[in-house]
């Protein structure tokens, strides 16, 4: 087990290193003037322009820039934003935004996962029953809907027609709160729209994968043994089948993390949720390269860690890997 983890850990670090290098070059090979954002207003004179270029280190040869980049990374310095003049990238990313995205994504993934796994298991057991057919169709339908469109629909129905949820932002602007619970209530009220959107968009996928996995497990010999022992259906399903069926899901989850970010970006944009997803969109539009570079590095770290955690989890769940 130790060897397995060490091997995986080294592999993860190598990939991380490559990702960091790639990120650097990705942003340097982009055509166009990197200071466009900053010096977009024409009121800046050529001298000031030069000064800004020098300040951002964009006039140095590329190798020097690379060394500086690595140095800065190691000290936790991700550079300074173009659009939010002078604000360090780290404070833009690690702040309210990360918190908001984390809460939103964490809760939707969690709920979607739990519901998807349980309902998927039951649907596989009651194969070809009404329940199974309905849940499969429901999942295929929600899976086929573009996330942003689902968000728009929810805003339309619940925001415009029913007026029951706020349609933008994380909290009501200008409101004062007497205690933290009021604040939390308002926050959660604002989160309802994006939360429902994201959860619905994830749930179909998890359901279908789990159902598929359990059906696969049903073909295994040990399922016949369990039935031959005269165990109750529930015992067979949740004790024998589920434990084996969740294994492929764990490896799948790790790969899927990147798509989760895509969904988050869409949803945050539609609902104006103040998070990382929306930051990505803004940064692309405003060509704020330091922020984008910083996000890429952070995301790479997150995804690689998620993969590594999945590897560890898999080792725990599957005894065949452990020894």
């Amino acid at each position: 087990m130790r060897d397995y983890l060490i091997k995986r850990g080294v592999s993860a670090l190598v990939t991380l290193a490559l990702a960091i290098i790639l990120t650097f070059f990705l942003f340097r090979i982009m055509p166009g003037d990197p200071t466009r954002t900053v010096v977009g207003d024409f009121r800046v004179t050529p001298e000031v322009r030069q000064m800004l270029i020098h300040q951002f280190g964009l006039d140095q040869p590329i190798w020097v820039q690379f060394v500086l980049y690595i140095q800065n990374l190691l000290t936790g310095n991700l550079g300074v934003s173009f659009q939010y003049r002078g604000t360090p990238v780290t404070s833009i990313i690690f702040g309210r935004r990360l918190f908001n995205t984390f809460i939103l994504m964490g809760s939707s993934i969690g709920v979607a996962l739990v519901i998807g796994i349980i309902v998927g298991t039951v649907a596989a057991w009651k194969r070809e029953s009404k329940f199974d057919i309905l849940t499969v169709i429901f999942s295929l339908v929600t899976y086929s809907m573009p996330v942003f469109w689902l968000g728009m629909l929810i805003i339309l129905v619940f925001g415009y027609y029913l007026n029951s949820i706020p349609i933008a932002g994380t909290i009501t602007v200008g409101m004062t709160y007497s205690n933290v619970f009021e604040y939390a209530a308002d926050y959660l009220h604002h989160m309802t729209g994006p939360f429902v959107t994201l959860t619905l968009s994830f749930i179909g996928f998890y359901f279908l994968i789990m159902r598929d996995s359990i059906l696969d497990v049903f073909t295994e010999d040990y399922m016949l043994t369990a039935k031959a022992k005269g165990l109750s259906d529930r015992k067979i399903l949740f004790r024998h089948a589920m434990r084996n069926a969740t294994l492929p899901m764990v490896s799948l989850m790790a790969v899927e993390v990147t798509y989760l970010f895509g969904g988050a970006t869409m949803t945050e944009t539609v609902f104006s949720w103040y998070g990382i997803g929306r930051l990505i969109y803004e940064a692309v539009v405003m060509a704020d390269f330091p922020v984008l570079q910083g996000i890429f590095v952070i995301m790479s770290v997150l995804v690689i860690s998620a993969n590594f955690c999945a590897d560890i989890a898999y080792a725990f769940l599957d005894p065949r890997i452990r020894y």
Binding site: G32, Y143, F148, W149, M152, D216, M266, N307
Partner: protein, 300 residues
């Protein structure tokens, strides 16, 4: 005992009938799957819609034909948008772009992924390592942000969107093809093929590719689904081609016109439903073909 030689022409003919029979078997099974038939019907309807667009759409999708934000009526079936264009016509013509991008981008994705997977899986060793590292990188780097950046670099245009989607999406196919190739490589028939002196290319094309094909096909369907949804997403965020609006672009214009906050449901619902139905069509077909082609699934 004499050994009779089968002439090459006979072999070719035998193989033709073999494939034809397999296709017939497949079609017979497919016809029985109601989900598959429904999916195929959906897909074909949209294809026909795309081809017959000039005859079905009542107005030109780019000209102002009425007052802005008109509700649906008999003249304007889906109403008008913020500059008075007929939304129904725009949706009809949007079919072309969405389908085009979906099919072409996924075809490129699958080709690229299959190529990488075959080479990595068959040759193994250092080349495999290198290709897998590259694949890992593409998997790690977040898809949508990368797409956005590439779209921003390459600029607007349908062909750019196709390129962006293809370049990001090939990793899933590559991994799958690689693991399948590696397991096929261990099978006796590969050894046999090499033992009689076939070149690697011959072995790959004659023995490995036909066995990998069902997997690639199933994967291709999923790739189409991903491509359509990715294109819709990119367009919605404003990176599409305004001169050739797809459904996603129509929704982008809807959003910027404030359709959600003003309750212009006729602007929002139709394009989204089209995306949903087209994706569902391909998803159903994918589901049914998977049931048929995957021998493991047949056991269930």
């Amino acid at each position: 005992m004499t050994i009779q030689e089968t002439p090459a022409s006979q072999i070719k003919e035998d193989r033709f009938w073999l494939y034809r029979r397999k296709l017939g078997d497949f079609w017979r099974l497919f016809r029985r799957s109601s989900l598959g038939k429904l999916g195929l019907a959906l897909v074909l309807s949209f294809v026909m819609l795309a081809l017959a667009a000039p005859w079905i759409a009542p107005f030109d999708p780019f000209t102002f034909v009425g007052d802005p934000f008109l509700k649906p009526s008999s003249t304007y079936i889906f109403g008008t948008d913020q500059v008075g264009r007929d939304i129904f016509s725009r949706v009809i013509y949007g079919t072309r772009i969405s389908l085009l991008v979906g099919l072409v981008a996924s075809a490129m994705t699958v080709c690229l992924g299959t190529l990488v997977g075959l080479v990595a899986g068959y040759l193994g060793g250092r080349i495999d390592n290198l290709l897998m590292r590259i694949t890992d990188l593409f998997i790690i780097i977040p898809a949508l942000p990368l797409m956005l950046i590439m779209a921003a670099i390459l600029g607007k245009g349908v062909q750019n969107i196709i390129i962006v989607i293809a370049v990001i999406g090939w990793t899933a196919t590559a991994r799958m093809v690689r693991s399948q190739t590696m397991s096929l490589k261990e099978r006796p028939f590969t050894e046999a093929s090499r033992a009689i002196g076939s070149t690697d290319l011959h072995t790959i094309s004659r023995h490995i590719v036909p066995n990998v094909f069902p997997l690639v096909f199933a994967n291709g369907m999923i790739a189409i689904v991903d491509a359509i949804l990715s294109e819709a997403g990119l367009s919605f965020l404003g990176f599409g081609d305004p001169s050739r609006p797809s459904w996603g672009m129509v929704l982008y214009f809807a959003n910027t016109a404030g359709a959600t906050v003003n309750g212009y449901w006729w602007y929002i619902v139709p394009p989204g439903i089209c995306i949903m139905l087209l994706v569902m069509g391909f998803a159903f077909v994918s589901y049914s073909t998977d049931q048929i082609l995957n021998p493991r699934l047949r056991r269930r």
